[in-house]
């Protein structure tokens, strides 16, 4: 595989490129609409049987502690709320391809999922604490932030160790090394994919700038939340692949969101309790 590859090549020539279910996309948009209700969300979900089944399984899990079993989609939206169902929908839609191995990033089975789900939860906790952006949107953006790796992985196969070593020796970040070697990094590929999928603009921005929040003018709080969600996930070693910890973190993100080191420890403590409970539950149910 030559080194002259374009972003269009990545999307056009990558085998097994993941797709985002149309129903999940519609739910994502409908949940943000002021006219959405339980019935409209349920009708959209019902268009995709596999997705609906996964969402119902998640809704009936022990985590939510419902006193009786939810048997239909509309009821699940009424009981759990629109935003919660939207997040369940995102988890159900992405798990099948996020749980696969990514050889190009030296990520074994479930490792991208572990990292992405951890970042989703971390971003949500940061958003909740900072009160600077919608926490459910932060969850979705955190979950999807590394979709570029899914597409770029095959182009990096057998090169990961040399890219990681190059980054280390040249004292640059892994995304900078990707850019020098391939001409672009996984954030740019993710942005391209997200636009192709017609994801909302704020999520596209979070995917594009998640490692370099200072590079975008008037950094949106959502980008900072995802950046710090990644910090938390990496600090805890969740789903570290060949790129490991070879990224820079932007202290301005902490300042912009008004989060101190002490507060971050407190958030991390709460995150850890939630992560252990959620992650296993989502894994068991989504994998079923």
């Amino acid at each position: 595989m030559g080194t002259v590859v374009t972003l269009e090549d990545i999307v056009a020539k990558t085998p097994d490129l993941p797709s985002f279910p149309a129903a999940a996309m519609k739910v994502l948009r409908e949940a943000e609409s002021s006219t959405s209700n339980a019935s409209s969300i349920a009708q959209i979900l019902a268009q995709d049987q596999a997705l609906s089944a996964r969402v119902l399984r998640l809704a009936n899990s022990a985590y939510y502690g419902l006193t009786r079993k939810v048997s239909n989609l509309q009821e699940s939206v009424v009981v759990l709320g629109t935003r919660c169902v939207r997040n369940l929908c995102m988890v159900a839609a992405t798990y099948p391809w996020m749980s696969r191995s990514l050889d190009g990033y030296a990520l074994g089975p479930r490792e991208l999922w572990t990292h992405s789900f951890g970042t989703a939860l971390g971003s949500q906790f940061i958003a909740r604490f900072s009160k600077k952006c919608n926490e459910d949107l932060a969850f979705t953006a955190g979950l999807l932030h590394d979709i570029g790796k899914v597409a770029l992985s095959v182009w990096l196969e057998n090169k990961t160790l040399s890219v990681a070593k190059y980054a280390s020796q040249a004292d640059v970040t892994f995304d900078a090394a990707e850019k020098r070697i391939l001409g672009f990094d996984h954030c740019q590929v993710g942005e391209h994919l997200a636009i192709n999928w017609n994801l909302p603009e704020d999520i596209v921005a979070a995917i594009r700038w998640h490692h370099t929040p200072g590079a975008i003018e008037n950094t949106p709080p959502l980008v900072d939340c995802v950046h710090l969600g990644i910090y938390m996930t990496m600090a805890m070693g969740l789903g570290l692949g060949g790129d490991g910890l070879q990224y820079e973190f932007c202290p301005d993100s902490f300042d912009r969101l008004g989060i101190s080191a002490t507060a971050l420890d407190q958030i991390a403590d709460e995150f850890l309790s939630a992560y252990a409970e959620y992650e296993q539950m989502f894994h068991e149910l989504a994998a079923a």
Binding site: A235, L240, L245, L272
Partner: protein, 169 residues
């Protein structure tokens, strides 16, 4: 001969094995894997510590100010007053880059808190591998006392052998 069975220890957990088997701690970032071993009885355990301090007694293994004592109690619940040797691995630097100097990195704070706690316990530390901007994994083979660490870019190496350390002392 079949390889020894391996059990993983999760974030904020303690795992102790006796006589045979391996304890594995995967993907150590800013967290620290504290290893304690009784060479005389081939009993070893790992605490996967996440934060410098905390008060939640239900999650003692999560905090550097509580985990060392909790690990010793987990070990000594299996045996009496024998010499315990310690090692710790991890505390990677995640926060680096321009402007990060003003932030106290979680990995460094975790390591410092563990050092202080072990000093206060007058513990014998035989090996450490901390810091750096890379993740690690660790495996303790309880039957041989060998502690192996690995990382993606640096490969795998035996950090120490607790039984040999005791014999050499």
């Amino acid at each position: 001969m079949a390889p020894p069975s391996t059990t993983s220890v999760g974030l904020g957990q303690i795992l102790v094995l006796e006589d045979k088997g391996c304890v594995r701690c995967n993907e150590i970032g800013s967290t620290v894997a504290l290893v304690a071993y009784i060479p005389e009885d081939k009993i070893g355990g790992v605490a996967h510590i996440v934060l410098p301090e905390g008060t939640d007694s239900g999650h003692a293994a999560r905090y550097a100010n509580r985990a060392p004592q909790a690990l010793v109690e987990a070990l000594c619940g299996k045996q009496g007053n024998k010499q315990i040797l310690f090692a710790y691995v991890g505390g990677s630097q995640v926060l680096h880059g321009q402007g990060s100097e003003s932030w106290s990195d979680l990995g460094a704070r975790n390591v410092l808190a563990i050092e202080q706690q072990l000093q206060s316990m007058d513990a014998t530390v035989v090996a450490t591998d901390t810091g750096g901007a890379y993740g690690r994994s660790l495996t303790l083979d309880v039957s041989t006392g060998a502690l192996t660490i690995s990382s993606f870019t640096r490969g795998s190496q035996v950090l120490c052998n607790f039984i040999q350390k005791l014999e050499a002392a």
